[in-house]
């Protein structure tokens, strides 16, 4: 029984970060029916990808970032590979620069997300426009970006709670 509990704990430890990203992607695809919201809904999944890359890269690797992006492409019916590329590159650069953000006060993490999240959305706007050979509406992207930055603390809190639920010391 104890061994089973330990196994469940380990499975949770290994899969929870990825599952949180998938969960947020699915939530983002639900029909919310809020007036004028559909065209500016924030891409929530970008937040945990940023959070794991900066604060717990040992629990969420580059391959997981790639597959999260691919899943988002499939779910949002976007040209395959766009979000996979953006999530992978975002993860790589954040992983390289994490020493400037991790362990610092919360506002540094938030500012970092505002910067990297905006760059990621701009890259997506560019790639989607390139793929459709036509510039798509930019105002919606900007509003979506603002929404995403505003909800960052909530999702970051969720990620933090998940780390506290299964501390890595248990598996060292």
């Amino acid at each position: 029984m104890n061994a089973l509990y330990e196994l469940a704990k380990k499975v949770f430890y290994l899969t929870a970060p990825f599952l949180l990203v998938v969960f947020l992607e699915l939530v983002g695809a639900l029909p919310i029916h809020m007036p004028a919201f559909s065209s500016v809904a924030p891409p929530l999944a970008l937040i945990p990808v940023y959070y794991w890359a900066v604060h717990a890269p040992w629990r969420f690797g580059m391959f997981q970032a790639f597959f999260s992006g691919l899943l988002l492409d499939i779910l949002f019916m976007l040209p395959l590979g766009i979000n996979a590329l953006i999530f992978t590159l975002l993860y790589y650069f954040l992983n390289r620069l994490r020493r400037f953000i991790a362990g610092k006060p919360f506002y540094v993490s938030w500012l970092g997300f505002a910067l990297f999240g905006t760059v990621a959305l701009m890259a997506e706007w560019f790639l989607v426009s390139l793929s459709s050979r036509q510039f798509i509406g930019f105002a919606g992207v900007l509003i979506s970006d603002v929404f995403m930055i505003v909800v960052y603390p909530l999702i970051a809190l969720l990620c933090y709670g998940l780390i506290r639920l299964s501390p890595e010391e248990d598996y060292e």
């Binding site: 939530v27 695809a29 029909p31 029916h33 809904a41 690797g61 790639f66 395959l80 919606g140």
Partner: protein, 285 residues
């Protein structure tokens, strides 16, 4: 023991190789998907199959609480406006009875004239109603997922209508669910008429809630409030389906306000008018 160590060593080498070249590998893979996805329908249809087979059941479960909240909110609103609704319905009923009389007369007249001209009627449209199970919001996605598929007679190219007008068309029909390309999607191109003058033009999506009018004749003069309907050209949509009205004309950009409100898309009607147009030769998975 030695063999086990050898396997472990191999695994370690594979892991370190993957870690070292992960970025290059994944970037190449992503670009490969983007390029192949453009050219190869097989890769795209695998993605669409994953979406309709694996994700739809999960989305159905997740949408239960959302629908419950929406339903309660709707009930409360309806209760508050019950008396007003009732009066409106009585007035509408009177009006409808008048229309019914006129319609009966016109129908019999129409039948007589059709007989005189030996007119061949177009095939009867088949329709299916379906619930919207996913509406991936955001600035980049303008498509929805509905709970009706090939099992229900839905096929690629079918017209998707909401109660107010044209919503889009079926881009992919899975077994139990289908993907709808909305008229606001950047890949949507619809031949239209602008009434009352009947100018031909093309309505193109730009991923904003308000698509644009292009390919309008040079001397055409359109005004805010003009009605936009399908022209039936290219044989994908039948003629005279209402789309929206011209909302603004600014710097040569003509924006159309669709009659269908995407935020209220809940149940849609999928109609097979027997027109497949240029899509006829494209193999449907």
């Amino acid at each position: 023991m030695q063999q086990a160590n050898r396997v472990k060593s191999h695994l370690y080498h594979v892991k370190s190789f993957l870690q070292r070249f992960a970025l290059i590998l994944l970037v190449i893979l992503a670009f490969g998907l983007m390029l192949l996805g453009k050219a190869d329908n097989v890769i795209v249809s695998v993605g669409q199959k994953v979406l309709t087979v694996v994700m739809v059941p999960v989305l159905e479960v997740l949408s239960v609480p959302v629908n419950a909240v929406k339903s309660y909110a709707g009930d409360v609103q309806e209760l508050a406006a019950l008396k007003e609704y009732n009066q409106k319905l009585i007035a509408q009923n009177q009006e409808m009875l008048e229309y019914k009389k006129q319609a009966k007369l016109l129908k019999s007249e129409n039948e007589k004239l059709a007989k005189l001209l030996n007119y061949k009627k177009p095939p009867k449209a088949k329709s299916v109603s379906a619930r919207v199970v996913a509406d991936p919001g955001g600035a980049f996605a303008q498509s929805i997922l509905v709970l009706a598929g090939r099992e229900d007679g839905v096929s690629k190219g079918d017209v998707v209508m909401a109660k107010d007008g044209l919503a889009g068309r079926i881009a992919y029909a899975g077994e139990k669910a289908s993907q709808v390309l909305l008229i606001s999607d950047v890949n949507s191109r619809i031949p239209v008429f602008i009434e009352p003058h009947g100018y031909r033009a093309v309505l193109i999506g730009d991923n904003t809630p308000k698509p644009q009018i292009t390919a309008l004749p040079e001397k055409a003069e359109v005004a805010v409030g003009d009605k936009v309907v399908t022209s039936g050209d290219a044989g994908v949509f039948p003629a005279e389906i209402e789309i929206g009205v011209i909302e603004s004309k600014k710097d040569g950009i003509i924006k159309v306000k669709p009659l269908v409100n995407r935020d209220r898309l809940d149940i849609v009607n999928i109609i097979d008018f027997g027109l497949k147009g240029i899509l006829e030769n494209i193999k449907c998975e």
